[in-house]
Structures are given as structure tokens and as C-alpha cells.
């Protein structure tokens, strides 16, 4: 299988592979290793300054673990980078259609991108 340059870059040198430690970390995972694809996100949400308590919380750091094909690892890494600084919501920082086009993910692998999305939703929805 061929991978485009963006996929290869994220796959070969994922910037945010790993886990976060400390308080206030939200963790969620989806998929299973036995089924071939598993993704976990650790999301740190920024604490508010007292004078900005009315604003929604934003993502200050993300780490991920992924057992899967190069596309899964690359997309999870991209999500972990793009989410920082954005409002912590269940929506991916870029939608699946955009991610699929960016990484030239074949149609038969769409289910794997859904696992990345499910892991993200599980993480941001988890109690900190």
C-alpha cells in the first residue's frame, strides 16, 4: 500500500505519542487490539483564569496511543496536534471527510477513522 507524504511523516515521527500524567487529564479509548485497531487519547484541558471563567475550556495538551495501520497512527497524531488551543468538544478539530482527504485514506479504512473519532469523543467526554 502506498501512503502520501503527510501520512508517512506523521507515521514515522509521531509528535504526540505517549500518555499524560497528573491531575485533570481526560482519557478515552476505542477499538480493540484484538480487532486490529485501538486508539487512546489523553486530553488536558486548560484551567481558566478567574477573569475568563465565562469562556469554554480549551485543550492545552494531547497525547495518544495507537495500535493500527499507518493511517490510524498518522490521523491520531494529526488530531492530537490540531486540537491544542481549541475548545474541548466532542467534535474532532478537523472533520472526518477532511482528514480522509488529507491523508488519502482508502474508503475501506473509513471504519478505522471512526475508531479515532470514537476515542476522541470518549476522551473529551471523560471526567477529569
Amino acid at each position: 500500500m502506498n501512503y502520501n507524504d503527510l501520512t508517512r511523516r506523521h507515521f514515522e515521527s509521531p509528535a504526540n505519542a505517549g500518555m499524560l500524567t497528573g491531575v485533570g487529564i481526560r482519557r478515552g479509548a476505542a477499538g480493540s487490539r484484538a480487532q486490529g485497531t485501538w486508539v487512546q487519547f489523553d486530553v488536558q484541558v486548560a484551567h481558566h483564569r478567574p477573569d475568563r471563567a465565562h469562556e469554554p475550556p480549551t485543550v492545552s495538551a494531547v497525547r495518544f496511543l495507537a495500535f493500527g495501520c499507518p493511517h490510524v497512527i498518522a490521523v491520531a497524531d494529526r488530531v492530537s496536534q490540531q486540537a491544542v488551543g481549541k475548545v474541548a468538544t466532542a467534535a474532532l478539530p478537523e472533520d472526518l471527510k477532511s482528514l480522509r482527504e488529507l491523508f488519502a485514506v482508502p474508503v475501506e479504512k473509513l471504519g478505522r477513522l471512526l475508531i479515532v473519532e470514537d476515542a476522541w469523543i470518549a476522551a473529551v467526554s471523560a471526567p477529569s
Binding site: F11, G36, W38, L65, A66, F67, G68, P70
Partner: protein, 394 residues
């Protein structure tokens, strides 16, 4: 980046330059370009003499009579001719065939087609190391069994079957002929058609430093083995395989087999040392399983499953550095886990995360260094990204 180290000799081998030089002599006007079937002039006679010399070389290399060697386009055609030719030659409209789940698709797919036509096929399940117990064959034989088809060397895991023992069982049965797919055997282990008591044997040139597009079916005519032809027109090859012979191809196969026979144990010993060094380095990673039976295996092949690593990512990570296979080359396009490893009991994940390293005549210590470096980096990185920490072997 430099060219990846080639470690896929079980898929195909480069043509030995000595073989290529002899083939080139049979192509152009100043060479032996005649039709070997033309008996009315010297050009044909010269080509015919080259073809017969090559037939003798192949026969000598595999312990057969020259008259028993029938040229084909490769081992796949030879397997098809053995299976369909045997089935169609029997007077009964259908019968029974015994084979193994770990055979090459060039045997399994013809068997499935024969099943579609009403034949019964028993697919034996080898033990966890890939070795068939000859007693399994004995138990599977029925009154209407006409053929047992068992490969000599498995193309994915390198295990060597006890062909002589299986041949004795077929012999005592009476009507069951033994067909052996020996595409991976030449130059890798002892192969003796007559001595092992084989009735039909498929050979391939391109697995032994010969050209693609040529192979042979060896037929024990003296033992009364008869086949129905699969193609007609010209009556070449004892009416079993019509068509003008490709002189340069068969000359290449003859030369390649002669060289392989001459190289013998020295080449195997050198390759075994490289393979053992590769295995020692991989084993140190931990979470690494060797597939097959090291005690009954050819020297050039090493099949390894890596725990806690996803198969597609593993191949993608090592591909810039080494050329290896996941399962057989014929099935790697459809990305299915190796059916051979699944038949041996490996789970789907381990079957997917297996790499087949196959070494050859031109493999070097430097190739092994590259492979060890690439696989070590890939496995450690992918395990780290997956959050899996498999401890190295103590």
C-alpha cells in the same frame, strides 16, 4: 536512500549472470534461435540439442530420468497439469484427492475447482510446526483416492515434509499417486525424485536463479503414471504440453539447476549462518515467535511473528530498508492474514504481524545488519506508539 536489501528470495530470485549469458546465446541471429521442434535443418537441431541438454541437467539435479521431465511455463502450470491431468485421466467421473491446508494456492485452487466438479478433497491440517504426520495421509486415503498432493518445502515457513514416508504410504495404497510441489526445493535441500518414490513433481526455475516463465513437471512414466493433456496443438512434450518450446527459457532452467546442484551444501551452510544471526538478533527484541520447525526447515527461510505490532504498520515501517514478504507473495496483495500461519494455529493478529525473510545466493552480512536495524527500530517504535512494552528476552 539506497536500494532496500533484498530478502525475498522465496518469492523470486535474480537470474544468475552465468545463466543469463547462456540464455542470451539462444535469442539472436548469431545464436541458437531456431525452433527446437524443426527437424528439417541445423538451426532446429541446434536448438533441440540445447533443450535436451537442459532436460538432462534438470533431471540430473533432481534424480530423475531425462525422459520424465516435461517443460511447462512454471510450477503453477505443472501443479495444474498434475492435478487436472490425473483427474481427467481416470476413467471414473470423479474421485478423491488428499492434500494439506498449507499448500500453495497453485494446488489449493485447482483442488477447489475439482470439488466444484464433484471431486472430494481432504485437506489435512499439519501440526503447529507445519509438519504433516505421514499417518494422517494414511488415515485420509480412501478406496477411490487417486492423488495425494503434498509440497516438499513450504513457501511461507520453510518446513520440509517427509516425502519418502508419504510416498511409501501411497505405494502401499495401490492407486493413490503422489504429487509433490517442489518449487522451493532446488538447491535448498536434498531432492531425489526416483529415490523418494515420487510419481509427479512440480519444479520452478525462478526460485533457483533461473528465469521466470519456465518450469517442469516430472512424471514417473516407468511407474505407469499417465496424465490427460491440458492443452493441444503440436504434440510437443510427449503430447502432454503442446506449444513451441522457449529454448532460452529451458536452457536457463537447465543451467540454473546445474549450478544449484553444484553449489550444494556450501551455499546452504553460508546462508544458514546468516539466517541464524538474523534470528538471534530478532529474538532479542522479545515478544517474537518463530513460525515453522527449525529442526526440519530449509536454511534460507525465516518466518517470524511480532507480538504487539500491527502488521500493515510493521511492513510500512521496514519497507524503505528491506524487501520481505508478509505471507506468500501471491497473497500479500489482498492483505489477508496468511492462511498458512492461521492453519498452524497462529491467531489473526500474529499471522498479520509476521514477516518472511528469505535469503539467497547474493545475501550478505550487510543485508542482515540492515534488516536487524530496520526491524528493531520499527518494532520498538510501533510498540511504544501502541503503549505496549514487551520485555526483551533475558
Amino acid at each position: 536512500m539506497s536500494t532496500p536489501a533484498y530478502l525475498d528470495y522465496a518469492a523470486t530470485t535474480p537470474v544468475d549472470p552465468r545463466v543469463a549469458a547462456l540464455m542470451a546465446e539462444c535469442l539472436t541471429q548469431d545464436g541458437v534461435f531456431g525452433n527446437p521442434g524443426s527437424v528439417s535443418h541445423d538451426y532446429g537441431d541446434a536448438a533441440g540439442a540445447r533443450v535436451e541438454a537442459a532436460r538432462g541437467q534438470v533431471a540430473a539435479a533432481v534424480g530423475a530420468a531425462a525422459a520424465d521431465v516435461i517443460w511447462t511455463s512454471g510450477a503453477t502450470e505443472a501443479n495444474n497439469l498434475a492435478l487436472f491431468g490425473t483427474a481427467h485421466h481416470t476413467l471414473a467421473p470423479r474421485g478423491h484427492i488428499v492434500t494439506a491446508r498449507t499448500e500453495h494456492k497453485a494446488v489449493l485452487d485447482p483442488c477447489r475447482e475439482l470439488e466444484r466438479r464433484g471431486w472430494r478433497v481432504t485437506y489435512l491440517k499439519p501440526g503447529r510446526t507445519g509438519i504433516l504426520d505421514p499417518a494422517q495421509v494414511a488415515q485420509a486415503l480412501a478406496a477411490d483416492t487417486v492423488l495425494v498432493s503434498v509440497m516438499h518445502v513450504n513457501n511461507e515457513i520453510g518446513t520440509i515434509q517427509d516425502i519418502a514416508a508419504i510416498a511409501r504410504i501411497c505405494e502401499s495404497h495401490g492407486t493413490a499417486r503422489l504429487h509433490v510441489d517442489a518449487a522451493q526445493s532446488m538447491g535448498k535441500c536434498a531432492l531425489n525424485f526416483d529415490g523418494m518414490g515420487i510419481d509427479l513433481m512440480s519444479l520452478s526455475a525462478h526460485k533457483a536463479y533461473g528465469p521466470k516463465g519456465v518450469g517442469a513437471l516430472v512424471i514417473a512414466h516407468r511407474r505407469g503414471v499417465r496424465l490427460q493433456a491440458m492443452q493441444y496443438g503440436g504434440g510437443q512434450e510427449r503430447n502432454l504440453r503442446s506449444g513451441t518450446l522457449a529454448t532460452h527459457q529451458v536452457v536457463g532452467m537447465g543451467a540454473a539447476f546445474a549450478l544449484a546442484a553444484a553449489a550444494g551444501h556450501d551455499e546452504s551452510r553460508r546462508i544458514a549462518q546468516l539466517r541464524d544471526r538474523l534470528w538471534a538478533g530478532l529474538e532479542a527484541l522479545g515478544g517474537v515467535l518463530r513460525n515453522g520447525d527449525p529442526a526440519h526447515s530449509v536454511s534460507h527461510l525465516l518466518n517470524v511473528s511480532f507480538a504487539d505490532v500491527e502488521g500493515e504498520s510493521l511492513l510500512a515501517a521496514v519497507r524503505p530498508y528491506i524487501a520481505v514478504s508478509t505471507g506468500s507473495a501471491c497473497t500479500s496483495a489482498d492483505r489477508e492474514p496468511s492462511y498458512v500461519l492461521r492453519a498452524l494455529g497462529r491467531d489473526e493478529r500474529l499471522a498479520e504481524s509476521s514477516l518472511r525473510f528469505s535469503l539467497g545466493r547474493f545475501s550478505t552480512d550487510a543485508d542482515i545488519d540492515v534488516a536487524l536495524s530496520a526491524v528493531t527500530r520499527a518494532v520498538q517504535r510501533l510498540r511504544r506508539v501502541a503503549g505496549c512494552a514487551t520485555a526483551p528476552a533475558a
